[in-house]
Each structure stands twice: as structure tokens, then as C-alpha cells.
């Protein structure tokens, strides 16, 4: 009987477990989870604060998930060392867990720059885990002033989550725009305006230089008083275990399309891994949930002796704030064309006759058609792309493609 070990307990770990079980019903699976919680969906923590979900519904899988999959779960323990030669994982609590195949799905950790005086701030929080969200919930009160450092996906989602429960929210970022990882300047300006209309204040191209108790002194010299501080500057892949074991690590653990690291029988998936971006044509960390699950699934299948490739990882983000939805995908290179209508904005990036990326604000209906054009690298000369810019429709495809998509099993 094969022995599997999974380090981590998020979407990549679930994908891995389900991948293993798709081939091997009997092998023993040990899950090492630093967080002492049943697997839950981290992106839902802002929805929790907003009251759109609750702790029970945040579970990513049913309460009987581990039992049904025959997993032994070490909750509240963490892996501290991998012995790649001896094929064991040492845990913090001192257990040595042997493996035949190991998956590192350890996620990422918040990156906190060394702010001067940060230790003088009483109420400061990250916004990654459910515990972060619960602690933040304890700390906020009606009328309280919140300073969020970081205008990225995490910081802004946090702002939306607590918006109705606090007095004032200020968001600062060194970047000159919001959501700089997924939006160009024009699109970011639209979102910033929308958030400002909702009452959120921004200090961009500016960041905290030092903290003095309940006050932040900004690089610009401005001073911001706050009751609660949220740090959402960025995240870093938890790749240390594999690096220390001698595996190849860049920004994340380097993996191939089967999810295998450079060390024998050690796989990696999710936010800690750096695999191929199918659109960019290079390796990079793609810390988004679908990639975590799919990469984990491929790793699991391969750990169990199967052969599954995860070769379609690409950036995709879908995020909304106060009723305005944004979808982005791919890379923004090539020629840009734009369609504006009824307050909705669509930008498409076409290179060498192939759709490479898009940014949709507002008009996000049926964006999956665009995403599939990017993913499948459909030559735009074979479809009526122009007409689909306004509304993505299946009429743009040839009857043959439609026959395949709708007339049979896909």
C-alpha cells in the first residue's frame, strides 16, 4: 500500500487528495495542516465579514471529506523538514511521517515589509486566513477608522468586507493605481472612482514610512490616524521546505507540467509552486484558486502512478466590488481594442491573430467564451470575433465547432 503525504490543507491539497483517490482507493494519505481547521475557502473570508456566508458554508468540501477519502489529518501541526533521501517529513510536533509520494501544497504567507514602529501598533492584522478575518472582526467597531496597506486584490476585498461595519477606510499603496497586478491605468482609474464613490479613500504612490501607535506617517509626509491596521502588501510562496531539501526553487517551487518538483517523488501545487503559464509561455507563480485545484489534481494523479498534465494554467481573475464586477484573463500584450457601452468597458489584447488577454469591467456576461478563445488559442480569422466584442455569442463559432460543443459529449 502506497503512502502519500500532503503538506497543506487548501484547494491544492483537496485537488491532490481527489487526484490520488481517482486512481488509488487504498493508499494511506496523511495531511499535515498548520491551520487547525477543516478545509475552507480562503477567498470567502471577505464575504464572511460582509455577511454573505457563514462559517459552516465556508467549508470547501463536506464535513466528511477526510473520512470519505481515508485521510489521516494532522491538524495544527506543520512540516518543518523534508528528508528527500530518507523520504520522510518531520513535523513540528516531532512526528516523522514516511512517504512514497509527497505533495507540497503549503500555499503562501503574507509579506510584511519592515515598517519602522510597526511594533507600536496595537491592532494590526493580515488578511489571508479565517483566523485573520475573525480577529479583525473582533477588533473593528462602528465608526472605527481602518488603514489598509495594499490596494491589491486582498486589501480591496478586505475593504469591501468591512465597509458596512466601520466608519472610515483608507487604502494606501506604493503603486500608482489600484489592482496593479491585474488592471492597466485606465481600468484602475474606473475602479478607484467606483470605490471612492462607495466611501473608500486612497493614498496612492504613497506608503507608510513609520507607525507611531495609532498614526501612520506616510512617505509624502501625510499623517493618517487609524484604530485598526490591515497589512495586505503581498504574499510569498512557502517554498522553504523544498529549497532546504535541495529542490529547485525560484519565486516558487519549480514544477513541470505533471506537478513534479526537481526532487524525486516530491510534487508541488498551488500558491507555493511555480509552473508553466500556458499563455505567457514561461514559468511563474499563478496564485489563483483554479490553478491550485487543477495543479493539485494533476499532482495527485501522478503521485498515484497515473499520467495527468496540467498544461493550461493561465492568469484569470474574477472580482467584484460593491456591485461592479471585473474579469481579467491572460496577458496584456499585442494590439488593444476597446468597446465601451452603458458604463461597461471591455478591452481585448490581440497578438498574431490570437486573443491573448482581456479586461472586462461591468460587462462580464459570458466571459467564458473569451477565456476559451485565449485558452484554446483559437485563430481569430476562423471566427467572427468583431461581432463578439459587444456580446460574446456562440454564433461566432463555425457550425462544426458548435456541433462539437452542443451536439455531443464535451
Amino acid at each position: 500500500m502506497k503512502k502519500y503525504v500532503v503538506i497543506g490543507n487548501g484547494a491544492a491539497a483537496v485537488g491532490c487528495i481527489e487526484g490520488i483517490r481517482s486512481l488509488d482507493a487504498n493508499g494511506g494519505i496523511t495531511v499535515i495542516s498548520k491551520e487547525p481547521r477543516h478545509v475552507y475557502s480562503r477567498p470567502l473570508i471577505s464575504y464572511y465579514l460582509e455577511g454573505k456566508t457563514d462559517l459552516d458554508r465556508m467549508l470547501y468540501r463536506g464535513a466528511d471529506f477526510y473520512e470519505k477519502n481515508g485521510c489521516r489529518v494532522l491538524l495544527g501541526d506543520s512540516a518543518v523538514k523534508i528528508d528527500a533521501d530518507g523520504k520522510t517529513v518531520l513535523t513540528e510536533k516531532g512526528e516523522t511521517v514516511p512517504y512514497d509520494a509527497l505533495c507540497v501544497a503549503a500555499g503562501s504567507s503574507p509579506f510584511v515589509p519592515p515598517f519602522a514602529g510597526l511594533e507600536t501598533v496595537d491592532k494590526k492584522f493580515g488578511f489571508m486566513t479565517l483566523d485573520d478575518a475573525l480577529a479583525l472582526e473582533e477588533a473593528i467597531f462602528a465608526g472605527c477608522r481602518v488603514l489598509i496597506v495594499g490596494a491589491g486584490l486582498i486589501g480591496l476585498k478586505c475593504a469591501e468586507g468591512i465597509h458596512g461595519r466601520v466608519g472610515k477606510i483608507t487604502v494606501c499603496d506604493l503603486a500608482d493605481r489600484v489592482l496593479s497586478s491585474i488592471l492597466d491605468a485606465d481600468c484602475a482609474a474606473i475602479i478607484q472612482k467606483h470605490l471612492e464613490d462607495s466611501g473608500i479613500e486612497f493614498l496612492l504612490s504613497d506608503s507608510a514610512e513609520r507607525f507611531e501607535g495609532n498614526k501612520a506617517v506616510m512617505k509624502s509626509g501625510k499623517e493618517v490616524e487609524f484604530d485598526v491596521l490591515v497589512l495586505a502588501v503581498g504574499v510569498r510562496a512557502n517554498s522553504g521546505l523544498v529549497r532546504d531539501a535541495g529542490g529547485e526553487v525560484n519565486r516558487g517551487i519549480i514544477i513541470d507540467e505533471r506537478g513534479a518538483s526537481s526532487l524525486p517523488d516530491i510534487f508541488a501545487a498551488g500558491d507555493c509552486a511555480e509552473g508553466d503559464d500556458a499563455i505567457l509561455g514561461a514559468k511563474r507563480v499563478l496564485a489563483i484558486m483554479p490553478n491550485a485545484y487543477m495543479g493539485g489534481h494533476a499532482a495527485g494523479v501522478n503521485m498515484a502512478g497515473g499520467d495527468e498534465k496540467f498544461d493550461r494554467a493561465m492568469p484569470m481573475n474574477s472580482i467584484g466590488f460593491f456591485g461592479l464586477h471585473i474579469m481579467t484573463a491572460g496577458v496584456y500584450d499585442g494590439e488593444m481594442s476597446e468597446d465601451r457601452e452603458d458604463g461597461a468597458l471591455k478591452r481585448f489584447f490581440v497578438k498574431d491573430g490570437i486573443l491573448r488577454g482581456f479586461i472586462l469591467i461591468g460587462g462580464t456576461e459570458r466571459a467564458g467564451i473569451y477565456t476559451s478563445l485565449i485558452r484554446e488559442k483559437t485563430p481569430l480569422s476562423t471566427i467572427d470575433f468583431e461581432s463578439s466584442k459587444k456580446i460574446a455569442a456562440n454564433t461566432i463559432f463555425s457550425p462544426e465547432i458548435r456541433r462539437k460543443k452542443f451536439g455531443g459529449v464535451v
Binding site: K52, R57, L59, P290, G368, G407, V409
Partner: protein, 139 residues
């Protein structure tokens, strides 16, 4: 598993499939009671002035929507893609951008997760009575 297959050479674009889908899940006794009501069918007629065809969930062999759902609120059981209603948050439009084909148009005021197909899920059989599918219990 049985699916709804599309044969666009035969489709006249009459939209009756949409009404029958809505009626099958409406708990109404007579289809006429749908008259004047806004319906939310799981099958939709698309097309232009040359061609029409009906589109519903394909219950894909490799369902990207299931794998992409941030809430884990979509699963595939016995070949059927299902929405786990208790688990969904109020909007699950995150899923929409992953859909390789398409789903129903967004219905902003409702749970977007409703954009699933197959009114006949939950292992139920459609019993034909008087030429119309009998209403079935909802999820």
C-alpha cells in the same frame, strides 16, 4: 448520462424549450400560469438572423467550473454537474469567466449560481403527462 443535445439544423428558435424548462421547475399546475411572468430557464435559445440553437449546461467531462468555484459550491456527481445551494455565497459569478461554453445570461438579482442547466437533475425521472413534463420537487 442523458444530456440535451442540440441539432441546429432543426431548431426553429421558437423558445418553447425555455418555457418547458421553466414550467418543469415551477411547481405550477398549468403552463399557462407562466404567462406574463419572467422566467429563468436553464436552457436558452441563441442565434442570429441566420441560425438558432438551444444551449444548456454540457456537464463536461472535465468541468472547469467545478474546479474553479472558489466556494466549492459546484460538484459533479454521477455525471451531473450540480450546484450545492447551501454552500454558495450570494453571488458566484466568479465561476462565469471559467465556463468554456456558456451558461445562461447573468441574472444579477438572483443567485448567479442558478445558471445551471438540467431541470431534471436530482436523479428524477420526467414523467410525461398530457404531453408536458410533470413538475418535480426542487432541490
Amino acid at each position: 448520462m442523458k444530456r440535451v443535445y442540440v441539432n441546429e439544423e432543426w431548431c426553429l428558435g421558437c423558445h418553447l424549450c425555455e418555457y418547458n424548462c421553466a414550467f418543469a421547475n415551477s411547481k405550477l399546475e398549468r403552463m399557462a400560469a407562466l404567462k406574463g411572468k419572467k422566467i429563468f430557464p436553464r436552457i436558452h435559445v441563441e442565434g442570429d438572423d441566420r441560425i438558432t440553437f438551444a444551449v444548456s449546461c454540457r456537464h463536461c467531462t472535465d468541468p472547469i467550473c467545478v474546479k474553479s468555484c472558489i466556494a466549492g459550491a459546484i460538484s459533479k456527481v454521477d455525471g451531473v454537474v450540480k450546484i450545492d445551494k447551501p454552500r454558495q455565497v450570494r453571488r458566484v459569478s466568479d465561476v462565469r469567466s471559467r465556463l468554456p461554453v456558456r451558461r445562461a445570461r447573468a441574472r444579477r438579482e438572483r443567485n448567479d449560481a442558478e445558471m445551471r442547466a438540467l431541470p431534471l437533475e436530482q436523479g428524477g425521472q420526467t414523467r410525461v403527462r398530457d404531453g408536458l413534463p410533470e413538475r418535480r420537487d426542487r432541490l
